[in-house]
């Protein structure tokens, strides 16, 4: 869906040529979320901004849906790509409904259709239109404003979204909530998303693929579990942190490691987990209760399997290995 081919950006500075992005190539498939991750100044934002040509590449190509983006007028290109930034950038002179209607208006949608679309998106993001459509951005909380920022980017239902640290300015509680909401929405909408972050936890949570950048170069491009299990080099290992095994627990569900069982043993006591829980809960229960195996029950309370410490260890030891 989006393919970067040897994408490079250099700047001429008084100290000589500075390479911000150095021959970066990768491909993101339709419906996937790819997080561009790295410390500040690593080139991840410049890479993102070259995709909608806010920054002109020095060399290299970007293909979106198979089309060379050089062949498209940049203004047209951007209208077809959702764009969300950390500062949100809601226009304070416009109401919420007008903000969401910016791109539809550029594309010449009639007023009634813009209004309808704004209402639908506000409803999708749990902001009742009757209450919010006519407010101004300065009357919103940070979390509400960022939801509107996402709604605005979705206004013309673009297949591709670029998000530059969209949730970084929110407090941790709000950030978790809006991340969860966004994941739920993305499961329905299946957009192709490029998402810049400097937060490994956010990346692990949001990404199908993570692209780790260092000093303008792409150093590893893989699924989150692969990156946590097998960092490509010392830089990646230190960036993901020494607790990377703990981070992996979030990515694995109980159903992936449990031994299925049917019925029986209903009378047993002790803690249980659901097949949809992730292994963080399992590990916590192991430690808390000093046990080595747990029963898995479904929503109706029927025993469906068990998960053992050995199965968890086996999974953590092998997964991601080529």
């Amino acid at each position: 869906m989006i393919r970067l081919d040897q994408l490079t950006k250099t700047y001429a500075t008084p100290q000589g040529t500075m390479t911000a992005v150095d021959r970066v190539s990768f491909e993101v498939h339709e419906g996937e979320t790819c997080v561009l991750l790295g410390p500040s100044g690593c080139g991840k934002t410049t890479t993102l901004r070259m995709i909608n040509r806010l920054v002109a590449p020095t060399s290299g190509k970007v293909f979106i849906g198979g089309r060379d983006s050089d062949a498209v007028d940049p203004v047209e290109l951007r209208r077809g790509i959702g764009y969300v930034i950390q500062q949100i950038g809601l226009f304070p002179n416009m109401t919420i409904a007008e903000n969401i209607g910016v791109v539809p208006r550029l594309l010449g949608w009639p007023e009634a259709r813009r209004r309808e679309r704004a209402d639908a998106l506000l409803t999708l993001l749990a902001l009742p239109p009757a209450q919010f459509a006519h407010r101004y951005p300065n009357e919103l909380s940070g979390g509400q404003a960022q939801r509107v920022g996402v709604a605005r980017a979705l206004a013309v239902d673009p297949p591709v979204m670029l998000m530059d640290e969209p949730f970084a300015a929110l407090d941790p509680v709000n950030r978790e909530a809006i991340q969860d909401e966004f994941l739920r929405m993305q499961r329905k909408l299946r957009k192709t998303i490029l998402f810049v972050s400097h937060d490994i936890d956010e990346a692990v949570k949001m990404a199908d693929r993570i692209a780790i950048f260092n000093a303008g170069r792409l150093v590893q491009f893989a699924a989150p579990d692969e990156i946590l299990a097998h960092p490509a080099d010392a830089f990646v290992a230190s960036f993901v942190g020494s607790d990377r095994t703990l981070k992996r627990l979030r990515l694995i569900r109980v159903r992936d490691v449990m031994t299925p069982m049917a019925g029986g043993d209903d009378a047993a006591r002790g803690p249980t987990v659901s097949p949809d829980d992730d292994l963080r809960r399992v590990a916590a229960l192991f430690l808390e209760h000093g046990v080595d195996d747990l029963r898995c029950v479904d929503a109706a309370g029927i025993l469906v399997g068990r998960v053992t410490r050995a199965a968890v260890a086996a999974r953590l030891g092998t997964e991601g290995r080529q």
């Binding site: 806010l54 203004v75 930034i85 950038g89 226009f91 304070p92 416009m94 109401t95 910016v102 101004y136």
Partner: protein
């Protein structure tokens, strides 16, 4: 609209106070017999007020149009190299007393309404240029970034994002400028520009209080009216989301 204007929250009190003062002065004038003196100049008042209004409207209108245009031009990226220098020059010209500007205009353009209008235009222009430029520069860059990223062209960004967000500051400049304009217009008489200054200065020279007030009172009323007009325009034309007067 007029009912709404009267209920504008912040603008009511000062005008009530002014009305009260005007009433008291009016009563004083009537009691001292000055009112009759003033009204002897009724025909002159009408004629010169019209002339005065033309001076203010032409020079002020031209200044708003050209000042906003120049301010916008200076704020564009391609002007970046010269903009600061130009604003410094504007500040220098602003520091010349208005009487000096009029005198300079007279030496360049002779006497009559034209040098008066040009002099008033220059005096009015500068605060408008400065506030337009500063207002546009103060628009947060992430708003422009978001606008570009969403696919707005430069003209759309200017019209839909930059100008609305700078409008409050621009109006402040226009209001200041028009106060200078109205306050300076009587001096236009000194270089043959006509207007109510004729009654004021002649009244002073002849020590005719009635004549002087026949010019001074309409001038004062005009200043209050113009300020009220632009205050209301600022209140109602600047979008609510970026209007500090309407946010509270």
């Amino acid at each position: 609209m007029s009912a709404a204007v009267l209920t504008a929250p912040r603008s009511k009190l000062p005008y009530l106070v002014l009305g009260g003062i005007a009433l008291a002065i009016g009563a004083g004038l009537w009691a001292s017999g000055l009112l009759a003196d003033i009204l002897r100049y009724r025909k002159d008042i009408v004629y010169l007020t019209r002339q005065h209004l033309v001076l203010v409207a032409v020079s002020g209108g031209a200044a708003i149009v050209s000042g906003v245009a120049i301010g916008i031009a200076l704020s564009r990226p391609w002007m970046e190299r010269w903009a600061e220098g130009a604003i410094q020059a504007v500040n220098m010209v602003t520091s010349i007393p208005t009487l000096g500007k009029l005198a300079l205009m007279m030496s360049l353009l002779g006497i009559g309404p034209l040098p008066a209008i040009v002099g008033l235009w220059i005096a009015t222009l500068l605060p408008i240029i400065r506030n337009t430029y500063e207002g546009l520069r103060a628009v947060p860059s992430h708003l422009v970034d978001a606008a570009r990223g969403m696919g707005m062209g430069p003209a759309e960004i200017l019209r839909r994002v930059e100008l609305p967000n700078a409008l409050f500051v621009m109006f402040a400049g226009i209001r200041t400028a028009m106060a200078v304009n109205v306050g300076t217009a009587p001096i236009a008489f000194l270089i043959g520009g006509g207007g109510l200054g004729e009654l004021i200065f002649t009244g002073i020279d002849l020590q005719e209080h009635g004549m002087m007030l026949a010019g001074a009172i309409p001038t004062a009323l005009l200043a209050v009216a113009v300020d009220f007009l632009f205050g209301q325009a600022q209140y109602w034309l600047v979008p609510r989301g970026v209007n500090p007067l309407r946010n509270s």
